[in-house]
């Protein structure tokens, strides 16, 4: 039995690893959306993070630069979104879509010379503990530092939003930009910051994919994870802790279908893959039908353009 138990531990460890990019991107997007900005560019920012992280790793041979660089490039590309939606007052949905389309194209262009280059080994922590403790070892140990960061992030985000002054300001801006503005809060500045933070987190999520999860560069390698992250924020009804739970469910489905393919079970893989999307729609319906519930959960000004007359 000990072998089986250990196998389950390894499985749980794999589920955790596959949920990391979702947690990172969704936590970033959650802050952005809490400030009232709907950025549909998650997929684009992630893929830009993925290629810049990988390219920097190849060029500088330094993983620290690669990770920080991926965050910076996510931030820079989200700045385009910020400039357009906040300064030029463009529509969030259209701008975000443009960002995703642009990001996928741009990453492929930059990545042209990086296809087929093998990745570098990313240091995993506590490898000896992973081997020596059955079941719990593979769950808690032998992961990259990014995984530990990702699993702490939702709690940090929750604390930040609920207990700090800046968190309160962000929520105020998201729920009622006009009254926040009347209180002397610079709505545009707050929203810019949240957009940039979201961009950096999406960049980080992308570099997790290209540096750790599948250490190489493949065109379009985020493969829709950005859209899942967006769905996840809604699924979690804008609550950071639920993002963590949701990401584990979504990640679990990914791992499960890989194993089912291997075992040759008869349930269509595609049905499992579609579950996260269908579940998100159901959650949306459940929270939206009650207008009080949606007001409690959704940033009221989400996706709305705020313009202060000077």
């Amino acid at each position: 039995m000990s072998f089986d138990l250990n196998f389950i531990g390894i499985l749980i460890g794999a589920i955790m690893a596959s949920s990391v990019p979702l947690i990172l991107a969704a936590s970033g997007e959650l802050i952005t959306e809490r400030s009232g900005v709907l950025n549909l560019g998650v997929e684009g920012m992630m893929i830009i993070g993925a290629i810049s992280g990988f390219a920097l790793m190849v060029v500088t041979d330094n993983l620290f630069f690669a990770v920080v660089g991926s965050m910076l490039s996510g931030l820079i590309i989200s700045l385009i979104f910020g400039l357009l939606t906040q300064s030029l007052l463009t529509n969030h949905v259209a701008t975000g879509l443009a960002l995703t389309i642009f990001g996928i194209g741009m990453s492929a262009m930059i990545g042209k010379n990086f296809v087929g280059i093998p990745g570098k080994e990313f240091p995993l922590l506590f490898l000896n503990l992973k081997e020596s403790i059955p079941f719990l070892g593979p769950i808690f140990f032998g992961h990259s530092i990014l995984l530990y960061f990702a699993f702490g992030l939702p709690f940090l985000t929750n604390f930040f939003l609920k207990k700090t002054k800046i968190g309160l300001i962000i929520r105020a801006v998201g729920d009622s930009p006009t009254s926040a503005s009347n209180q002397g809060i610079n709505v545009t500045l707050v929203r810019y910051s949240c957009i940039l933070y979201g961009g950096a987190m999406c960049g980080l999520a992308g570099s997790y994919l290209s540096l750790i999860y599948t250490p190489q560069w493949i065109e379009n390698m985020t493969g829709g994870r950005g859209w899942i992250a967006l769905a996840l924020v809604v699924f979690a009804t804008w609550s950071p802790i639920k993002v963590l739970i949701g990401a584990l469910i979504f990640g679990g489905i990914t791992i499960l279908q890989l194993h089912m393919q291997a075992v040759g079970l008869r349930i269509p893989v595609q049905l499992l893959s579609a579950l996260p999307y269908i579940m998100t729609i159901i959650v949306l319906v459940v929270i939206s039908r009650d207008s009080r519930k949606i007001k409690l959960n959704t940033p009221t000004s989400l996706g709305q353009i705020f313009y202060k007359e000077k």
């Binding site: 949905v93 879509l97 579609a274």
Partner: protein, 357 residues
């Protein structure tokens, strides 16, 4: 969405000229990107935008790609004009393709003039029904249609994947993820020998004309436009908001479904995993670039179709990835949205959907 504060005299000519400015800026931006990547900008842009359409075959390919883009964008213009954010046209296209393709497989080895019209009609109905999901959820459960229509894209993609791998896969196909080739009676007639341009273009043109009629000559079109400008006015005027939302989604979905069925019975001739190179998403750019205007959308679809073709040519001559086209598509939309600010400088922008969500 936009409340005009001081300047309600936005010049119509500038309104339709800014898309041209956006295209111009995109060319400059693209040139700069090519330069940074070590190409001669002029030459690269030539490969991208002139080489592909310098012969008859290229022009035909341009129309082959513009046909679905224009069709979907026309449908989307109904939604966008009335402030309904259907961004799941890709899913509606795929679902239309699935239903149309299913009927085509049902009529496998049937001969008869009736086969193709039935397939086309079923594709349109398929897309329409699929678009009704976000519409009904929006009207009866107050659900955000952006997210629902987007989620459904992936559901449709996975359903298609399941069908072509599993029950619908070609029995003699060596387990390739594709269906049988449709029989001849289920294919769109080719217009000229040796070119791929097909009768689907007439469907697109007829749809454009009908849309113009609906939008500008009927009461429904009036309702759609008023609801887009001001939801409050629409309510005050007593328009049936819910019915209208469902109708615009139905129109939009039917158009996307038609585009899907046009692709599978036209250039593709079977169902497989990738029946659309994201036409449904790119058509959103087309709709904006064409200013949600039927004639504008025709021109916009040609421009955006050229970015698809240009990427294919550049892939061959410059060895750049085929995704390069998306860099241009993204830039066009960035510049277009950005230049609107200059246009509406003194217009007050309110929320997309006040008191909603």
């Amino acid at each position: 969405m936009i409340k005009i504060e001081k300047r309600n005299d936005v010049s119509r000519s500038i309104y339709f000229l800014t898309p041209i400015l956006a295209i111009f800026l995109t060319l400059i931006g693209g040139g700069i990107i090519f330069y940074i990547l070590g190409f001669s900008p002029i030459e690269a842009l030539k490969f991208f935008f002139i080489t592909p359409i310098s012969d008859l075959y290229g022009l035909s390919e341009l129309l082959v790609k513009a046909t679905p883009l224009c069709l979907i964008a026309i449908g989307l213009s109904f939604c966008f004009k009335s402030n309904n954010w259907n961004i799941g046209a890709e899913g509606q296209l795929i679902f239309g393709g699935i239903v149309g393709g299913g009927v085509a497989l049902l009529f496998y080895n049937h001969d008869g003039y009736y086969v193709l019209p039935i397939i086309i009609l079923s594709g349109a109905v398929g897309g329409m029904l699929f678009a009704m999901i976000p519409a009904i959820l929006k009207t009866y459960f107050n659900t955000n249609e952006i997210l629902v229509s987007l989620m459904l894209v992936y559901v449709a993609k996975l359903l298609l994947d399941y069908l072509v791998v599993g029950p619908w896969s070609n029995p003699e196909g060596f387990n390739f993820p594709e269906t049988r080739q449709f029989s001849e009676s289920a294919r769109m007639p080719i217009l000229f020998d040796g070119l791929r341009i097909h009768a689907g273009i007439f469907i697109t043109l007829i749809t454009v004309f009908l849309s113009w009629l609906i939008l500008y000559k009927t009461y429904l079109g009036f309702q759609i436009k008023v609801s887009g400008l001001s939801l409050k006015t629409a309510k005050y005027a007593g328009f049936k908001g819910k019915t209208m939302i469902i109708i615009v989604f139905m129109i939009s979905g039917a158009c996307a479904g038609l585009a899907g069925v046009g692709e599978i019975t036209g250039p593709i001739g079977q169902l497989h995993r990738n029946i659309s190179p994201d036409y449904g998403f790119t058509a959103i750019i087309v709709a904006f670039l064409g200013r949600l205007n039927p004639v504008g959308i025709i021109f916009a679809s040609l421009v955006v179709a050229l970015t698809y073709l240009g990427a294919e040519t550049a892939q061959i001559f410059l060895q750049v990835p085929k995704y390069t086209g998306q860099v241009f598509q993204g830039m066009i939309l960035f510049f277009l949205l950005g230049s609107d600010y200059l246009l509406f400088f003194k217009i007050k922008f309110l929320g997309l959907r006040k008191n909603e969500l």
